[in-house]
C-alpha cells in the first residue's frame, strides 16, 4: 500500500534498531561472562563486537531521525517517536560502556563474588526481552495496548530486582577483606551493569507515555 510509505519505513527501521540493541545487549552479556570466566581473549573479541553493534544501532537511529524530520509522521508524533528511539539507543550505549569498563579497567573480581556478579549481569541484560516485546506490540499492533504496557511494567520489575541484587552485592563487596580502593573499583563496575537496567526502564517509561497518549 502506497499510503504512509515513509511512516512504514520508519517502523521497519525502528524494528531493525531494536534488533541491533538486543543483539548488542546479548553480546555484552557474553562479553562479561567470558571476562568473569577468565577468557580475556574471547571477552576482547566480544567487546569489539558489542562496540560494532552499538555503532550500527547508532547509524540506524540517524537514519530514523533523517526519515522523521524529512516528513514522516505528523510533528506531534514525530518528537515522541524520536525520543523513544533515542531512549532505546541509550540501552545499547550502556551495554557498550559496561563492556568497555571491564575490558579497559580490568577489575579483579574475587572468586567469592563472581557468582553474584554473574547473577546481576544475567538479570540486568535480561531486561531487553520485555522491552523489545513492548516496543513491537506498540509499533506493529501485535497485541493489545494493555499487553504492551504490561511488558513495559515488567521492565520496571526487573529493574527493581536488579536494584535489590545491587544492594546485596554492594554489601558483600564492602563487608569483605578487600582493600578500600579495590572495593570502590568493584562498586563502579557494578554501577555500570545496573545502569543498563536503569536506561531500559527509562525507555520503557517513554514507551508507556507514548502508548498512554494513544489510548482512547
Amino acid at each position: 500500500m502506497i499510503l504512509f510509505k515513509k511512516e512504514k519505513e520508519v517502523i521497519e527501521l525502528i524494528e531493525k534498531h531494536a534488533d541491533k540493541v538486543e543483539e548488542c545487549v546479548s553480546t555484552s552479556l557474553s562479553t562479561l561472562q567470558a571476562y568473569l570466566n577468565g577468557d580475556i581473549a574471547s571477552a576482547k573479541k566480544l567487546a569489539r563486537e558489542t562496540d560494532n553493534l552499538e555503532t550500527q544501532a547508532d547509524l540506524i537511529r540517524h537514519h530514523v531521525r533523517d526519515k522523521l524530520y524529512g516528513g514522516a509522521y505528523m510533528p506531534l508524533l514525530r518528537e515522541d517517536v524520536y525520543k523513544l528511539v533515542e531512549s532505546l539507543d541509550k540501552v545499547a550505549n550502556a551495554a557498550e560502556k559496561c563492556c568497555d569498563a571491564f575490558l579497559n579497567q580490568r577489575p579483579v573480581v574475587p572468586e567469592f563474588l563472581k557468582q553474584d556478579f554473574l547473577t546481576v549481569i544475567i538479570v540486568s541484560t535480561g531486561v531487553i526481552k520485555p522491552l523489545k516485546h513492548a516496543l513491537l506490540c506498540y509499533l506493529k499492533g501485535l497485541c493489545p495496548m494493555e499487553v504492551s504496557r504490561q511488558h513495559a511494567k515488567d521492565v520496571g520489575l526487573i529493574e527493581s530486582k536488579v536494584d535489590s541484587l545491587d544492594w546485596d552485592l554492594t554489601k558483600n563487596i564492602f563487608s569483605s577483606d578487600l582493600t578500600y580502593s579495590h572495593k570502590l573499583h568493584l562498586k563502579i563496575c557494578v554501577e555500570h551493569i545496573v545502569d543498563l537496567t536503569d536506561k531500559a526502564e527509562d525507555a520503557a517509561d517513554c514507551l508507556e507515555v507514548v502508548a498512554l497518549k494513544a489510548m482512547i
Binding site: 504512509f4 505528523m74 506531534l76 517517536v81
Partner: protein, 318 residues
C-alpha cells in the same frame, strides 16, 4: 461611494468573522498540537473562500431578503453591519467565541423593526430554533461518532503509531471541511445585507465576504483559538477529528438549508459531545457558561443597538 462604504462595512463584518471564528475551525487541531497555528490559518483561508464562493449563496439570500423581505435603505444596511461587527469585535477582544450569525440576525431584526419593514417572523423562528437545534444535533453526532471510532480503533490490530498518524491527517482534513462550511454559512452574514440592495453581483459579494473572513483569520484569529482548543475540554487526536467533522457536517447542512447558524455553537456542541464520551468531568463548565451568556447577549444587544442607532442617525442627519 456609498456602495464602497457598505462594501467596507461588509468586509469589516467578514474580518470579524475570520478573527472570531477561524478559531472554531482549527482550535481543536491546533489545541492538540497537530499543526502550527500559522499553517492552520492558511488552510482556513483557502477553504473559507472556496466555501463562500461555492455554497455561500443560500445564507446570503436569507440575510438579504429572508428576514426583512423588502428593500432597505443604505443607512439601515450600514447600521446593521456596524452593530453586528462591533459586537463580534468586543467578543473577540474578550476571547469569547461568540456567534457572528446571531449578531447579524439580531442587527437585521433591529433595523427591520426600526424601519418598520415587514419582518418574516416565521423565518426568524426557524433560524432561532436552528441555533438550539444545531449544537444539539452536532453534539449527538459527535457523541455517536466518537463512541464508534473508539470502538473501531480498539478492535484494530494495526500499529498504534500508524493509526494515530492517519487520524492526525483526518483531523487536518476535517479542519479544512469546517473552514469550507464556515465560508458557506458565514460569508452570507458579512455581505447578506448588501445583497438586499441587489446592486452588486452575488458572486462578487461572496468573494469579498470570503476574502475578508480569510484576512480576519490571518490577522487576528489566534486569541480565540486557545479557548476552543484547550479551554472547553482538552482533546486528543481522534477527539479533534470527530469534533471538527461533526460540526462541519452540521454547518454544511444548515448552509444548504440557507439558515445562518453559529460556528461557535456547532464546534462547542461537538467538543461537548466528545467530552461526554470521555466523562462529563473533563468539560469545563465555566467556559461553557461564559459562551452561553455570550450567545443570549449577542443577538439581543445587536438588535437593540441597531434599532436605537438607526433611529438616532435617521433623526439626527436626515
Amino acid at each position: 461611494m456609498i456602495i464602497l462604504i457598505l462594501l467596507g462595512a461588509g468586509a469589516y463584518v467578514g474580518w470579524n468573522i475570520g478573527a472570531n471564528d477561524a478559531a472554531n475551525c482549527v482550535g481543536t487541531t491546533v489545541g492538540c498540537g497537530l499543526i502550527s497555528y500559522k499553517r492552520a490559518v492558511i488552510l482556513v483561508s483557502v477553504f473559507v473562500i472556496a466555501g463562500s464562493l461555492v455554497d455561500g449563496d443560500h445564507v446570503m439570500k436569507t440575510i438579504g431578503k429572508g428576514i426583512v423581505s423588502q428593500q432597505l435603505d443604505y443607512l439601515a444596511i450600514f447600521v446593521a453591519l456596524l452593530c453586528s461587527g462591533g459586537f463580534v469585535t468586543l467578543a473577540t477582544f474578550y476571547r469569547i467565541p461568540t456567534s457572528t450569525s446571531q449578531a447579524i440576525v439580531g442587527g437585521v431584526l433591529g433595523i427591520g423593526l426600526a424601519t418598520g419593514a415587514q419582518i418574516q417572523y416565521s423565518k426568524l423562528i426557524i433560524i432561532a430554533e436552528s441555533w438550539i437545534l444545531c449544537p444539539i444535533l452536532v453534539m449527538g453526532l459527535a457523541y455517536g461518532l466518537y463512541f464508534l471510532l473508539t470502538m473501531f480503533i480498539k478492535r484494530l490490530r494495526v500499529g498504534t503509531l500508524l493509526v494515530q498518524n492517519a487520524l492526525g491527517w483526518l483531523a487536518v482534513m476535517s479542519a479544512c471541511y469546517v473552514s469550507y462550511s464556515m465560508g458557506a454559512n458565514n460569508a452570507g452574514n458579512a455581505v447578506g445585507p448588501i445583497a438586499n440592495l441587489g446592486i452588486v453581483h452575488p458572486q462578487i459579494l461572496l468573494g469579498i465576504g470570503g476574502v475578508s473572513i480569510a484576512i480576519g483569520a490571518l490577522t487576528y484569529g489566534k486569541k480565540v483559538a486557545d479557548t476552543v482548543g484547550k479551554g472547553i475540554t482538552p482533546l486528543d487526536i481522534p477527539g479533534a477529528f470527530v469534533a471538527q467533522m461533526s460540526s462541519a457536517f452540521g454547518m454544511h447542512l444548515f448552509s444548504i438549508l440557507g439558515i445562518p447558524v453559529s460556528t461557535s455553537s456547532a464546534i462547542v456542541g461537538a467538543v461537548v459531545g466528545v467530552g461526554l464520551v470521555k466523562g462529563a468531568k473533563s468539560i469545563s463548565k465555566k467556559t461553557i457558561l461564559t459562551i452561553l451568556v455570550g450567545w443570549v447577549l449577542t443577538p439581543s444587544l445587536a438588535a437593540v443597538t441597531a434599532f436605537f442607532l438607526y433611529k438616532f442617525l435617521k433623526g439626527f442627519f436626515i
